[in-house]
């Protein structure tokens, strides 16, 4: 459950982002308390990846402000230890083995060697990668790459974790492992900002949901709230998602949202 810390894990105010004449984000504001698993939903092209990049400081908004863990997003140096980011395309060096990749990243993240060794071993074990850890990443399946990239983004024990489609391309077993890891992280107080199309994943792990459509946040609340506002009682999150986005697509005001 969200903690009651005064400083929210993520605070974004009135974010605007344009690509040429295309509006990517139109006045997006978010306040996410620490310890929340925030399911970030939206159809293709809604602006989810753009939002992730802005919130991680990898891209700059045209206007608006962002603070993560109370740190201004422009202060990359101060921010680095607080956030972990798993983009949709895993940022891995195919020429390295998973062990080399993780040790390299641990070094870049200033994690002491003892701690790094311990964490790498633990995560490789937990995600069933130990036996393949010395194989070069170029020989990995999509799932193995995704798991390696997941480990590297949590290796420094970040306060806020940004995950872009973390279970895409994974088999059910690997997807469950990642899902359980997300829950475990949330239990230890880590905030997880989870963008995915796989709504059952959000239903399973998120305690707050935001729906982005055409660069605007069109629904926000707990999964139950969003479901009940957008659909009849008993509808799934998928029903709610479809209802919210189609209401905005057709220009009809969504019911109670």
């Amino acid at each position: 459950m969200p903690s009651t810390d005064e400083v929210p894990a993520i605070r974004a105010a009135d974010l605007q982002k344009m690509y040429d004449s295309e509006v990517a984000l139109d006045g997006l504001s978010l306040t996410i308390p620490a310890g929340t698993v925030y399911g970030f939903l939206g159809p293709n092209g809604a602006g989810k990846t753009t939002t992730m990049r802005l919130l991680t400081g990898l891209s700059h908004p045209d206007s608006g402000s962002i603070r993560v863990c109370g740190i201004d997003i422009d202060d990359r140096r101060a921010l680095a230890s607080h956030i972990g980011y798993l983009p949709e395309t895993p940022p891995l060096y195919e020429e390295f083995s998973a062990r080399e990749q993780l040790e390299y990243v641990a070094d870049l993240r200033d994690i002491s060697q003892d701690v790094a060794d311990e964490r790498i071993k633990e995560y490789l074990d937990r995600l069933n990668l130990t036996s393949d850890a010395d194989k070069r990443i170029e020989a990995y399946s999509t799932g193995m790459k995704q798991k390696t990239a997941f480990i590297q983004c949590i290796l420094h024990d970040p306060d806020v974790l940004f995950l872009d489609e973390p279970t895409s391309g994974l088999d059910p077993r690997a997807a469950r492992t990642i899902r359980e890891s997300i829950t475990n992280f949330a239990d230890t107080g880590t905030t997880v900002f989870l963008s995915t199309h796989i709504l059952p994943v959000v239903e399973a792990v998120a305690n707050e949901v935001g729906v982005l459509f055409n660069g605007k946040l069109v629904a926000e609340g707990t999964p139950a709230e969003v479901q009940s506002r957008a659909t009849n009682e008993g509808g799934s999150l998928e029903d709610a998602f479809l209802a919210v986005t189609s209401q905005h697509e057709t220009g009809v005001t969504p019911r109670d949202v």
């Binding site: 940022p91 070094d107 170029e138």
Partner: protein, 536 residues
């Protein structure tokens, strides 16, 4: 599926592929500027070439009287087949979105499409200058009809060469798929052959002059008369036309018959390549492993920049295709190769030292510095969010380049001791060369940061990101003369021939200031760009 249907699909694919390429050429302003510079660079030759073609047309009395007409007419189809084969190996042997294309169109249509697009690209790059020469020549002869007849003669020849070149290229790709060890051997022998060719070209001119040989006479051995007579059909209806020979007709018939056969062979080859899953007998050799984790050796392990440098070097060694662009050095070294042979034994020592230091400065910057952002593009979401500072990252890149260049700066002068340089002279050259490695690599990272290239290109079945040619040219034109000037000053100093006149002092101070200042500014610029980098 009918041929008509496949041709229609093929032309659509060809059009789409050509449009994609064209949009790529004109994709952004920086690329347009690069194209403009390339055109200015090579376009100058048109100012001489077009009047020369006109003058040639004015003075030609018969096709046979045109200098080198027969060997050129023989070489043209051979060159076209080789070009098509090379382009197939390099680029059009595979199609993007393969799954989609293979499910949507017949392989024959795809082959037609890829070849059509390639001919279009060829025409786009070379059509205008070639057209300029032909029009100028036709005007010189006084018969513009040559432009039309030349086109009609060229079309069947180009089509035939294109399909057979494609078939050969696909054949080689299939062979490489089946024999991975052959791929490594061909790459190595290809590099050696290119070095040999460039070095040989340096001797060829001198040999021809000194040996007093008639080139026309030598080339006449390689002339194939029926082909020459076919090409000479271009001049039908003009004052320089000869009688129409039966051989020319036979060549035309052969070309027309061979084209569909070539297309059929290409289609079979391409289908076999695209639809066959390569099975390697020894699966374990295909899964490269690394024992021991990430453990940089000394002295790289001393600092984080060193460890980053080791990471870059390790990736370079495991993926050497990323370093293809370094082969450009061959073209710069070759002239020195002839000099080494020609000069007296006294001069060999300094030349060996100069070549060593020249290579050192070249590799220090060019190996990893000329496209730092492009090289790391897909890893930026990771790298930018680590605690490691931009300065450390850039220093790591500097060190990785210097690690390649520095040994040349040491071993070049060291080897020159065996050719007459004193130990002191070699030592001083090494020290100066090492400093030049540092300045060259600092200059390179700034230059590469200013003009990053992100697009991957498939080369011999491997996707690589190489620096912009424009960046390479600027780097070579700045660092090359800078290195030579520095080495000249060093040479005069170590041989005791340096006279410290006020003019020299001013110029040398300016040189030092420029070299150090520009390099440092470039290094700071790279750090600033890295620090402010954002993914858009």
């Amino acid at each position: 599926m009918s041929l008509h249907h496949d041709v229609r699909h093929g032309l659509r694919i060809g059009r789409a592929e050509f449009v994609r390429s064209f949009r790529g050429y004109l994709g952004n302003t920086r690329r347009l500027v690069g194209l403009a510079i390339v055109m200015l660079f090579f376009g100058g030759s048109l100012l001489v070439g077009i009047p020369a073609a006109y003058f040639l047309g004015r003075t030609a009395r018969s096709a046979a009287a045109i200098p080198f007409f027969a060997p050129a007419a023989t070489a043209l189809p051979v060159a076209l087949v080789l070009l098509s084969m090379f382009r197939t190996l390099e680029r059009i042997g595979n199609i993007e979105a393969e799954e989609l294309m293979l499910l949507a169109a017949h392989p024959r249509a795809i082959v037609i499409g890829l070849i059509t697009a390639e001919i279009g690209r060829l025409f786009l790059w070379f059509g205008f200058p070639l057209g300029g020469f032909i029009i100028a020549f036709a005007l010189g002869v006084g018969s513009p009809l040559i432009v039309v007849s030349g086109g009609l003669i060229a079309i069947p020849l180009v089509c035939c060469a294109a399909v057979w070149g494609y078939a050969s290229g696909i054949g080689v790709l299939r062979l490489l798929e089946r024999l991975p060890s052959m791929r490594r051997f061909l790459k190595a022998s290809g590099v050696l052959a290119m070095i040999g060719l460039v070095v040989a070209s340096q001797f060829a001119g001198q040999f021809l002059v000194e040996a007093d040989i008639s080139i026309q006479q030598r080339l006449s051995v390689f002339t194939f008369d029926p082909l020459v007579e076919y090409i000479a059909l271009t001049f039908i209806g003009t004052p320089i036309a000869g009688p129409i020979s039966l051989h020319a007709g036979v060549v035309l018939a052969a070309v027309i018959v061979l084209t569909p056969i070539g297309l059929s062979v290409s289609t079979r080859q391409a289908s076999a390549l695209w639809f066959t899953e390569t099975v390697h007998s020894d699966a374990t050799t295909r899964t490269p492993r690394s024992r021991g984790g990430f453990s940089p050796p000394q002295p790289f392990a001393w600092s984080k920049a060193g460890r980053i440098a080791w990471g870059i070097l390790l990736r370079g060694r495991r993926h050497p295709q990323e370093l293809n662009h370094l082969l450009m050095a061959v073209f710069f070294i070759a002239p020195f190769g002839t000099a080494v042979v020609q000069l007296s034994s006294d001069a060999i020592g300094p030349i060996v030292a100069v070549v060593g230091v020249g290579l050192a400065t070249y590799f220090s910057g060019a190996a990893f510095g000329l496209n730092p952002f492009g090289d790391e593009q897909s890893q930026f979401p990771l790298l930018l969010l680590t605690e490691t500072s931009a300065t450390t990252m850039i220093r790591g890149r500097l060190l990785s380049g210097i690690a390649i260049g520095f040994p040349f700066a040491v071993f070049g002068p060291l080897a020159s001791v065996f050719f007459g340089l004193t130990v002191l002279q070699a030592a001083v050259t090494t020290v100066i060369g090492s400093a030049m490695c540092l300045t060259a690599s600092m200059f390179a990272v700034g230059l590469g940061s200013a003009y990053p290239i992100y697009e991957e290109r498939e080369f011999w079945g491997t996707k690589t990101v190489v620096p912009s040619t424009l960046v390479m040219m600027i780097y070579v034109f700045v660092v090359g003369p800078g290195t030579i000037l520095g080495l000249l000053a060093t040479w005069f100093a170590v041989t005791g021939n340096l006279v410290l006149t006020p003019v020299f002092s001013v110029f040398f101070s300016f040189y030092l200031l420029l070299t150090g200042g520009v390099s440092y500014a470039s290094y700071r610029y790279a750090i600033r760009r890295y620090r402010r980098y954002s993914i858009e």
